[in-house]
């Protein structure tokens, strides 16, 4: 743990975005996680993504549950809204918040314990409802806060720091998310920000339930030779299917790729996801094929990363509920209590 606050001085050449903010303005408090924690890299990637997308920090709400991962919202976007909820219950709180104010950008931050064990039910339901949000799981395969027991995402056959083998099957959150109807699904690695930052930017610009499974080595308990979530193992087995460039409407779109090697997906807000294919036969639109591909790769011991599935057209929760376009929390007495004549008219229509 670091005892001093991060110095306020910053590099003289740091650029400011349209709000007049430098990247440093998107930071939070200094991390109290262990030195070298993958989660801190993910925080840094979120900071970078929000700076690059020029988000106004006060229009972002970050919500989390319990665990190492759920502590991290303190360490980024110090000027955003935050809610640290009960263990595994972040999805309910996020859903409620989103219903009340659909205008904020929702960032749910969770871990493998919070989402794959105690909160697995909540995880499933928020995805199938299509809540407009980014849901990031900082996945290290262990319970770090309780000294490194296997979590539900630890691979069968992988070993704990003390050499004990894990006999239980693992939960693959990416497979679940695709199965449950998430409309943007990706997997990243905390040790590769050049891949992770665009994945987060893509998720933020996506309308609907966006899910990122981010493998994040636990330096203290899960970065050893028997682990399948350590730096060395992930680097050796990382199989990226594509490389994402996120182009916001103000970016000049240039095309300098061989035809067929690039797939462009237009998002609701005009952002274009440009996917440079690395794996020839991988199609992010084809859910069934994607699941098949993921199963095959998993059996072969590969960790598939990149954008795994996108559906830019599907409705979100507010579309299906038919709510008004104004955020519900902005409706006043006039809209909510329209008076006796309006009620009479409504009742008459039901007679």
């Amino acid at each position: 743990m670091t005892f001093i606050a991060k110095p306020k001085l910053r590099h003289p050449e740091l650029q400011r975005n349209k709000h007049g903010f430098t990247r440093r303005d998107y930071e939070g408090a200094v991390s109290t996680l262990c030195a070298g924690c993958g989660h801190d890299s993910i925080s840094a990637a979120i900071i970078q993504a929000c700076y690059e997308l020029e988000l106004p920090p006060h229009r972002v709400a970050k919500l989390s549950g319990i665990g190492c991962s759920s502590k991290t919202p303190t360490y980024f976007l110090g000027n955003a809204h935050g809610f640290n909820s009960v263990h595994g219950r972040m999805p309910s709180v996020l859903t409620g918040a989103n219903l009340a104010n659909r205008d904020l950008i929702y960032l749910g931050v969770s871990g493998d314990g919070d989402s794959a064990s105690i909160g697995l039910g909540q995880f499933a339901h928020i995805l199938r409802r299509g809540v407009n949000m980014v849901y990031i799981v900082e996945n290290n395969g262990v319970y770090g806060l309780t000294k490194g027991q296997f979590s539900a995402t630890a691979d069968r056959g992988s070993k704990s720091k003390r050499g004990v083998e894990n006999h239980s099957a693992s939960i693959d959150l990416v497979m679940l998310a695709i199965e449950l109807g998430a409309t943007y699904v990706a997997r990243g690695f905390s040790g590769d920000k050049s891949q992770l930052v665009p994945l987060i930017k893509g998720a933020i610009s996506h309308r609907g339930a966006a899910f990122i499974d981010c493998i994040s080595p636990c330096i203290a308990f899960n970065n050893h030779s028997g682990s399948t979530k350590g730096f060395d193992y992930v680097r050796e087995h990382n199989e990226a299917v594509n490389f994402l460039d996120v182009m916001t409407p103000r970016d000049e779109i240039t095309a300098d790729y061989a035809p067929g090697s690039v797939q462009e997906i237009k998002q609701h807000d005009g952002t274009v996801l440009r996917l440079r294919k690395i794996s020839e036969d991988y199609d992010v639109h084809d859910r069934v094929a994607a699941m098949h591909y993921l199963q095959k790769s998993k059996a072969a011991g590969d960790i598939v990363t990149g954008v795994l599935h996108v559906d830019p057209e599907s409705p979100d929760l507010h579309d299906t509920l038919g709510t008004v376009s104004a955020p519900l929390n902005s409706l006043g007495k006039k809209e909510l209590c329209p008076g006796k004549s309006a009620i009479d008219k409504f009742n008459a229509a039901r007679r």
Binding site: L9, S31, G36, A44, S190
Partner: protein
């Protein structure tokens, strides 16, 4: 790029910008930390070893360290006016607040080594040679024409900048080592001196001749026209105690600034400084110009003196031609007269401070010391040895007028040369500096130094009320930092000597250091030529005078690059490093001094 060789003393020395820039390579951050810890005796001692005159330099140094200070660069676009740490005035804090430095003062050996050295001139370079050599057993005799020693420190620097007590104290430390100073003895023949039983002679006679101006009226009004350094010297020794009401000072160097401010205190009501070229091109240090202007002295530029106006020898004024800068077809800068009418500045006295010259009329042409066309001696620039192998030069006598800190640096080097000569070693083989690199880790995330970065801006040195200051030449203008200001200023130091040391085999490339670094100094990327690498770094890297710290190849094949330019030395990279690949290690470099360590060096 090749991995950085941190075993070479120069690499980390360059990172300590202030120490690298100091001609005497004073370990600045170390003494500033000691000041912050209230250890003034120890802070003074570090200075005394390196620069011999901490009290004097803490008031008068030309401060090459300050423009180099990293603090100035990191405050760029962070503070309204980026400014370096007030290194010079912190040195004075150590001198002012020390209580018992004598206990740390080394003493000369009881028995001399039988070698005898003569120094000519008792200025800073000679005194440095004398100190270094007497400490290791040499018998040193200094000859000086003035009745009190310290050379230009005493004769040219006015008392309102430097009280005499400070000079006496610091010359006293050297005399206390058994150095014999023969005051009031003028050496008229080098040959005669060489015929005595000295094993070597050091010439630290300064640049004693002030340059004169030859224009119309000079001879006729001679009574009212004085050479700046001679006049300052007369004031210092009490021969002159007043000046007329209206004074014109010609020249734009530090001597001119001392002249005009002295004149202000001796009765000059309307004192004007006039320079030929532009204000910005003046040789005086910016702070000395500021101090003069602060005392109500106008500085007029682009005026070339044409003649002295007088009435039968009584000076009436100076006539100036007004010029402007033009560039000829070759791009050469020239001062060209304008259409404007000549300007007359009425005055009663003129001080000419347009430069100093060397003069060695007392060195016979047949004594083996050869001279260059410039009038300066022909010297080896590292050993300071002249063409007569027993004769060495230093200070202003070596390469023309510089300043005290350069004279001290010359003195140290000349002392080494003399020691090696007298020991029968090759003078051109120079000893290596004494270097140390030690981890500052105390606990998991605790360091021996205060790594929290202060956001304080540069503190101004409090001044005496101007009404009092201008009345008496002996009243020191600057009061010096008080305790609170000194602590605030000391905390601004970034501890650049506490180095970020990277051990590549320990790195697991987790990015923790890149993420935490407040100045974006660290980048992990592919190797390549320096120019390409600099373009690829996280933060724009334009200051090529600052090195990139390059690691060997890591597991993924990438390389760690650290741009030293604006590193705060806050140690967060090392605190967030899970494997100890980063460590904060204090780099302590002391240049070699004459003595046992410099014998038989290769």
């Amino acid at each position: 790029m090749k991995p950085t060789d941190i075993a070479s003393p120069d690499y980390f020395h360059k990172v300590v910008d202030c120490q690298w820039a100091c001609p005497a390579h004073t370990p600045v951050p170390e003494y500033i930390r000691l000041i912050a810890a209230g250890k003034f005796d120890e802070a003074y001692s570090i200075n005394w070893v390196s620069n011999v005159f901490p009290g004097v330099l803490g008031r008068t140094c030309d401060r090459p360290c300050e423009p180099a200070c990293r603090r100035g660069r990191v405050e760029e676009k962070n503070a309204e006016k980026p400014e370096p740490v007030a290194i010079c005035r912190l040195k004075r804090v150590a001198a002012d607040n020390k209580t018992n430095f004598e206990r740390l003062l080394p003493s000369a050996p009881e028995k001399t080594n039988g070698k005898k050295i003569a120094c000519i001139g008792a200025g800073p370079s000679s005194l440095t040679v004398a100190r270094d050599l007497s400490l290791i057993g040499y018998e040193v005799v200094i000859f000086d024409q003035d009745k009190k020693s310290a050379g230009m420190i005493r004769s040219q620097i006015p008392r309102f900048r430097l009280p005499e007590s400070v000079i006496d104290e610091e010359v006293g430390y050297i005399e206390g080592l058994g150095v014999e100073i023969k005051n009031g003895v003028r050496i008229d023949s080098l040959q005669a001196l060489l015929e005595q039983d000295f094993d070597a002679v050091f010439v630290g006679a300064g640049a004693p001749r002030g340059r004169d101006i030859q224009i119309e009226g000079r001879a006729e009004a001679a009574k009212h026209i004085h050479i700046g350094i001679d006049w300052l010297s007369s004031v210092s020794f009490g021969h002159v105690s007043k000046i007329s009401k209206r004074v014109v000072v010609l020249g734009g160097g530090n001597t001119a600034m001392d002249c005009c401010r002295t004149a202000r205190r001796l009765g000059g009501k309307e004192v004007t400084v006039v320079v030929r070229s532009g204000f910005d091109e003046m040789k005086a240090s910016p702070w000395e110009k500021e101090d003069a202007i602060h005392e109500g002295i106008p500085i007029l530029n682009y005026r070339v003196p044409k003649r002295f106006l007088h009435d039968k020898g009584k000076l009436k004024g100076v006539e100036f031609e007004i010029v402007e800068v033009r560039y000829d077809e070759k791009g050469k800068r020239r001062l060209v007269p304008t259409e404007d009418a000549p300007e007359v500045i009425p005055c009663d006295e003129v001080l000419v401070a347009i430069g100093q010259e060397n003069a060695f009329p007392w060195i016979e042409s047949d004594c083996g010391v050869k001279f260059l066309d410039s009038g300066l001696p022909k010297l080896n620039p590292t050993t300071f040895q002249s063409t007569n192998k027993k004769v060495f030069f230093g200070g202003d006598a070596a390469f023309g007028p510089k300043n005290i800190i350069w004279a001290v640096a010359h003195g140290h080097e000349a002392a080494i040369s003399i020691d090696r000569l007298c020991s029968g070693d090759s003078v051109s083989d120079r000893p290596s500096p004494d270097v140390n690199l030690i981890s500052q880790k105390m606990g998991i995330h605790e360091w021996t130094y205060d790594n929290d970065i202060s956001n304080d801006l540069r503190n101004k040195v409090p001044l005496v009320d101007q009404k009092i200051a201008l009345k008496d030449i002996k009243v020191e203008v600057e009061v010096g930092f008080d305790f609170k200001l000194a602590m605030s200023e000391a905390q601004r130091c970034l501890n650049c000597d506490v180095q970020t040391v990277f051990t590549a085999p320990l790195c697991i490339e987790c990015d923790a250091c890149t993420d935490i670094c407040p100045m974006d100094c660290i980048t992990f990327t592919e190797n390549g030529p320096e120019k390409a690498v600099r373009e690829r770094l996280t933060a724009k890297s334009t200051n090529t005078t600052q090195d990139l710290y390059v690691s060997s190849a890591l597991k993924t094949g990438r390389v760690m690059f650290k741009d030293e330019d604006v590193c705060l030395h806050c140690g967060l990279c090392a605190e967030r490093c899970p494997t100890g690949a980063w460590d904060m290690r204090k780099f302590y470099l002391q240049t070699a001094k004459a003595g046992a360590a410099c014998q038989n060096a290769k």
